[in-house]
């Protein structure tokens, strides 16, 4: 029987597994998480009394439905939670499960690896108490914890208001919700956002709820610094009127939108191309999610599109797999799915301009700011290396000269900011700055994983 392996048990992976099972295949569903749902529809630990209805708000029904469908599916597929794919070699996935290395062969591979936050550094961002917005939500959904009692939300993302509302509902005080995008920029992006009016409405509704609750909401701010001696004590920024303001807080969530987690696609041999709207290198896929023969990408790991687009693109990739295995697919339904994915991703493209990645802010960061936390490399060290004779103008070479991006996270955190610093330093656009090449292991693995040394 054909071995179809799906990596990632979020909406894309679950939807794909459902369709493949219905068409007579028994897919393997590998997930790094201990429980299904991915990041957005994360299922809390079984013994955690968390009111997911309240937490998921307008998405509660979709959340419940996805998990119901997964529960009906799980007995019929090979589901492997808590399993990291750390390397890919030809048609073999190298896995790490319960601390031990193992392998699985595949004929068709669908990677639905999801997304992570794109981090824009600022002075003080490495202080304890600073989280990514995604991290703040994981603490809440996975553990029922808050990152602080008085939390500031800073960044440029529609998810800021969602997370702030979740935090307020769970009892946190919101020090400020500070958006670096001016209101005017959002208005200008309205036509693109109307591609998905329901999502647009939901964003506005969260914002309204926060305003009604008296949360301080600022637009068009310029972040100055995160202050604190041993941990976060305050967020300092310049408001749209030009006044410097200081907001006392004990935690900060930074949200500048998401970026696809593409390391696995890279190791599996996908090609990449620069996307000027997102200012990111994205894997090249066709309308169905094919990246190369036998390799399919879906969900936010392929293109940021949100949960609905993820689910539809997972289905679409499953159709592509079935078609490539010689099963006739219904043309009308795949065409409709493709349109839906296209429309939802177009909406995200609109969001990317409404909630812009702050490239100018990053390019003008002071030299003293830490760029790479793993290797403790400052913005100034990168600039100095580039300014030397025979200095680098491309990110991989900058990494070789400075160690920026060479540490535990392998540039997953500092990569996008490094790309902007390098582009600015070389007077190039982001495309010429290049992208950090992926290498195994995708996440750090202990020597003991290889087995007993005897």
């Amino acid at each position: 029987m054909t071995e179809v392996v799906i990596v990632g048990a979020g909406p894309a992976g679950i939807a794909a597994a459902e369709l493949l099972l219905a068409k007579g295949l028994k897919p393997t569903l590998i997930d790094e998480g201990a429980r299904p749902g991915g990041q957005g529809y994360r299922r809390p630990a079984d013994d955690l009394a968390l009111d997911m209805n309240r937490l998921m708000g307008s998405e509660a029904k979709k959340y419940a439905s996805l998990h119901r469908r997964f529960d009906a599916l799980v007995a019929h597929i090979d589901y492997r939670p808590g399993t990291l794919v750390w390397a890919i070699d030809g048609n073999t996935l190298h896995l790490l499960r319960e601390g031990r290395a193992e392998t699985i062969a595949f004929d068709k591979l669908l990677i639905a690896s999801g997304a992570m936050d794109r981090v824009a550094p600022l002075p003080g961002w490495a202080l304890p108490g600073v989280f990514t917005l995604g991290g703040a939500q994981v603490a809440l959904k996975d553990q029922g914890c808050l990152i602080g009692n008085r939390v500031a939300f800073l960044g440029s993302s529609p998810l800021l208001s969602l997370a702030a509302k979740q935090y307020r509902d769970m009892g946190a005080e919101i020090a400020v919700l500070a958006d670096t995008t001016p209101l005017m920029a959002k208005a200008a992006a309205l036509p693109a956002l109307l591609a998905a009016p329901r999502t647009l409405f939901r964003g506005l509704w969260y914002m309204g709820a926060l305003l009604r609750a008296g949360t301080r909401l600022l637009h068009g701010v310029a972040p100055i610094a995160i202050e604190g001696t041993n941990r976060v004590e305050a967020l300092v920024l310049r408001d749209s009127q030009g006044c410097e303001r200081r907001f006392a807080c004990d935690a900060i969530a930074l949200g500048y939108g998401l970026k696809p987690e593409t390391q696995l696609a890279d190791l599996a041999g996908a090609q990449f191309a620069y996307d000027a709207d997102f200012r990111l290198f994205l894997p090249v896929i066709d309308g169905m999610g094919r990246a190369r023969p036998g390799l399919y990408l879906a969900g936010d790991g392929a293109r940021i599109g949100g949960a609905d687009a993820a689910e539809a693109s997972g289905l679409l990739a499953a159709h592509a797999i079935l078609a490539d295995l010689g099963q006739m697919q219904d043309v009308a339904s795949t065409r409709n799915l493709a349109r839906r994915v296209q429309r939802l991703r177009q909406f995200q493209r609109g969001l990317a301009s409404a909630f812009a990645w702050p490239k100018a802010q990053i390019a003008s960061l002071p030299d003293t700011v830490t760029l790479c936390r793993c290797e403790n490399v400052s913005v100034g060290e990168v600039r100095a290396a580039m300014a030397r004779e025979l200095g680098p103008t491309e990110v991989n070479r900058v990494k070789a000269m400075t160690r920026c991006g060479m540490g535990r996270c392998q540039g997953r955190v500092c990569g996008p900011a490094l790309q902007e610093i390098v582009a600015a330093g070389a007077g190039n656009d982001g495309a010429a700055a290049g992208r950090l090449r992926g290498q195994a292991p995708v996440k750090p693995i202990a020597l003991a994983a290889a087995g007993d040394p005897a």
């Binding site: 390397a87 030397r388 000269m401 292991p441 750090p444 202990a446 020597l447 003991a448 087995g451």
Partner: protein, 384 residues
């Protein structure tokens, strides 16, 4: 299109090319170094960084020792730090056969004036308590050292530029012609460069030039599987090598462990790729945990390899062409070029400027392959 002339053109901006350019420029020669990418980006930049003296090919000791003096003097010569550390090198034996081999290596090293310490079981445990139970003996060479390959070649190239060498990165050579007593190079942008002497140190890409002048070598590309771990407290001073080659590792002062091991892995100079098969990473992880059990929970964070040029007798080609006066070769360093790089550059500069070098380089002549290649034991050990 422009036409320029230089005394010496060097093709290949690796460690060898950069040091050759440095010494030639210092002797007042007009030098142009041509590199298809950026300097020190291939095996010169991604190798393990070992400046190992013990256990080398016997005929290489005069060159090797001369080279080590240059490494020891790096900062004064080059004006930059390349993280040179005189760490010493520890060779481990796990059985009696390996102990015998260590002893024969040690005697060769000593015959060239190197000082080698024999370390027995008790001293092994006392001096390097993190070693596992299985090693039975070791030799320790205190003069052996390490340096950071990512930093070394660009630093030498900058020093060469300060001496007046013209370093041309991102420049390909598309044609080479004999012209009178010299050569004319055509570059990818159409520029012509005439030169009196030509140095071919193009690594895994070196045969293109050699074969253009009617000589060749059984060169093939490969690379060592390598990895680096997360940092942890600095405990492991020397560079450590199991004599069976399963692991060679060192800890840098900032705490990371860097590892290389055999068997080596395939590399593709055309696609410019040298992927590390995960099974080789796993084998090396296991081997490292065997040598240093305290590292069992240490995490590997990144693997890499590089595109090195190998020859079946596991020694490089260094010296004048046997077909073409004015042409000099230095390639095929078989994974041990980093240590001898500076010395090779110095010898090449002497051959070009003085017509000869005092360092014996006979074994490295390109002519040795005319009678068919010999295959060394080392070759059988290091490849699968």
């Amino acid at each position: 299109m422009s036409r320029a002339s230089t005394d010496v053109a060097i093709v290949g901006g690796g460690l060898i090319g950069a040091w050759t350019a440095f010494f030639l420029a210092r002797r007042g020669q007009k030098v142009t170094l041509i590199e298809k990418g950026v300097v020190g980006a291939q095996s010169s930049g991604v190798n393990f960084g070992n400046l190992r003296l013990q256990g080398r090919f016997p005929g290489q000791y005069p060159l090797s020792l001369r080279s080590q003096e240059l490494w020891e003097d790096f900062e004064a010569l080059i004006g930059e730090d390349c993280e040179f550390e005189q760490t010493g090198h520890l060779y481990l034996a796990y059985d009696e056969d390996e102990r015998t081999k260590l002893e024969s290596y040690a005697q060769v090293s000593e015959s060239y004036g190197l000082s080698i310490e024999r370390v027995g079981l008790t001293d092994l445990r006392r001096r390097w308590p993190w070693l596992g139970e299985r090693a039975i003996a070791a030799t320790y060479s205190a003069r052996d050292a390490t340096a950071n390959p990512r930093l070394a070649t660009p630093a030498v190239a900058r020093a060469a530029a300060r001496q007046g060498a013209d370093i041309r990165e991102n420049t390909r050579v598309t044609a080479v012609e004999n012209a009178g007593s010299g050569f004319i190079l055509t570059l990818a942008d159409g520029d012509l460069l005439s030169c009196g002497a030509l140095v071919n140190c193009a690594g895994a890409w070196a045969l293109e030039i050699a074969e253009r002048f009617g000589e060749t070598a059984p060169l093939f590309p490969a690379g060592p599987p390598q990895f680096v771990t997360e940092p942890f407290p600095y405990r492991i001073g020397p560079s450590v090598q199991a004599i069976d080659g399963s692991v060679i590792f060192r800890q840098i002062p900032r705490g990371n462990i860097i590892l290389a091991g055999y068997p080596r892995t395939a590399a593709d100079p055309q696609a410019n790729r040298a992927p590390v098969p995960p099974v080789k990473t796993l084998a090396a992880m296991k081997a490292l945990a065997r040598v240093a059990p305290m590292l069992a929970q240490c995490h590997v964070i990144r693997v890499w390899s590089g595109i090195e040029a190998y020859l079946p007798d596991m020694i490089p080609v260094i010296g004048p062409s046997e077909t073409t006066p004015g042409l000099f070769h230095a390639f095929g360093f078989c994974g041990h070029g980093f240590q001898i790089g500076p010395g090779v550059g110095l010898c090449l500069s002497e051959m070009i400027v003085d017509g000869a070098t005092q360092t014996p380089l006979g074994p490295f002549s390109i002519g040795r392959f005319r009678s068919g290649p010999t295959v060394s034991d080392k070759f059988r050990k290091e490849f699968d």
